[in-house]
């Protein structure tokens, strides 16, 4: 196995306390990255998580609290990164919410909530953080899309639209930033075992698993390893791609 070493590199991870964000943060820390970790609001569990990271990787984690759909949070994060490190190598646009609703049952608040976190946040973070990357003429931005954004699903019009938007943003940003040595790719997870999907009834979970070629639900680490690959120089000539991590789910 080729070890991935990212010693001295600086990463910004949004939604760093969630399932995939947590796994991605851990992988980046294990690879030697300094990680600026964003969480919407610290709670007892996430405080304990970051305390664990701090004891395992002293001085490598900095927490920025706030919603990334709020420009002030993004500005605060970029200022902190600039002041502390003067550079930024990796962005993982992971923060996201999942709300299901059938057509006719979708509220304005739900549309606003899903689009602002899943899509608007990605746009704001990409615009702001890429300016820091342009200074050094390198960087890798990894956006969390979803199989739902490519294939669609019942009761997920809003979520699917937000993730399709992430793919569109990825494709356009990759074209604009390639000349500056900045790569932009998306990861499209399938059915992944995270707190976001844990609420699904057992029958629904089993039905989905029966549609997955590899016969099992994915783990956050399955996704985090692809994120790590895209963050590293192993993918130095890869940009504008959407990498499915779905075990062959035939949605």
């Amino acid at each position: 196995m080729v070890p991935i070493e990212l010693d001295g590199r600086v990463a910004f991870v949004t939604g760093a306390a969630g399932g995939i964000g947590r796994a991605a943060t851990r992988r980046l820390l294990e690879a030697g990255c300094k990680v600026v970790a964003n969480v919407r609001a610290l709670n007892e569990e996430s405080r304990a998580l970051f305390a664990d990271y701090e004891s395992a990787h002293p001085g490598l984690v900095t927490v920025v609290e706030g919603s990334i759909s709020d420009s002030a949070t993004v500005e605060q994060a970029v200022k902190l990164i600039f002041q502390q490190f003067k550079r930024l190598d990796i962005v993982v646009n992971n923060a996201g919410v999942l709300h299901d609703a059938y057509l006719g049952m979708i509220s304005d608040e739900m549309i606003e909530s899903v689009l602002s976190t899943n899509l608007v946040g990605v746009l704001k973070v990409t615009q702001t953080m890429s300016r820091l990357m342009k200074r050094q003429k390198s960087g890798s931005i990894i956006n969390l899309a979803s199989i739902i954004g490519r294939r669609g699903n019942v009761a997920q019009m809003v979520y699917g639209a937000s993730k399709a938007g992430v793919i569109g943003a990825t494709l356009s940003a990759s074209k604009e930033l390639a000349a500056q040595g900045i790569r932009v790719n998306a990861v499209a997870p399938g059915f992944i075992d995270t707190p976001m999907t844990a609420a699904l009834p057992v029958e629904a979970r089993e039905k989905i698993i029966s549609q997955i070629g590899m016969g099992r639900i994915g783990t956050a680490e399955d996704v985090a390893d692809v994120i790590l690959f895209l963050a590293s120089d192993l993918s130095r000539y890869v940009t504008g791609q959407v990498v499915g991590v779905d075990g062959g789910w035939t949605l």
């Binding site: 420009s71 500005e75 615009q127 702001t128 300016r131 200074r135």
Partner: protein, 79 residues
């Protein structure tokens, strides 16, 4: 170096303007070099010179040389 001098240098360096161009009279899109791409180059030059990260609202409000000087005055002049 005053803020106005530093901004003048940033304009000349980023847009590769001839020395005889009076940058104090420039406005966004009012000169062939101050396009949207020129604007981003100017932003990068200002950030380098002042060793700061500009806020998005400030970047969008930089519509003239005088406005740029005014905005840069808000940042600590460590250039």
């Amino acid at each position: 170096m005053s803020i106005e001098q530093a901004v003048t240098e940033a304009f000349h360096e980023s847009m590769e303007l001839p020395a005889d161009v009076d940058v104090t009279a420039l406005t966004y899109r009012g000169h062939p070099a101050w396009t949207s791409l020129g604007h981003m180059a100017l932003v990068a030059a200002l950030e380098d010179k002042f060793d700061i990260m500009l806020e998005a609202d400030d970047i969008l409000e930089m519509s003239s040389f005088q406005k740029v000087v005014e905005i840069m005055g808000k940042y600590d002049g460590s250039h």
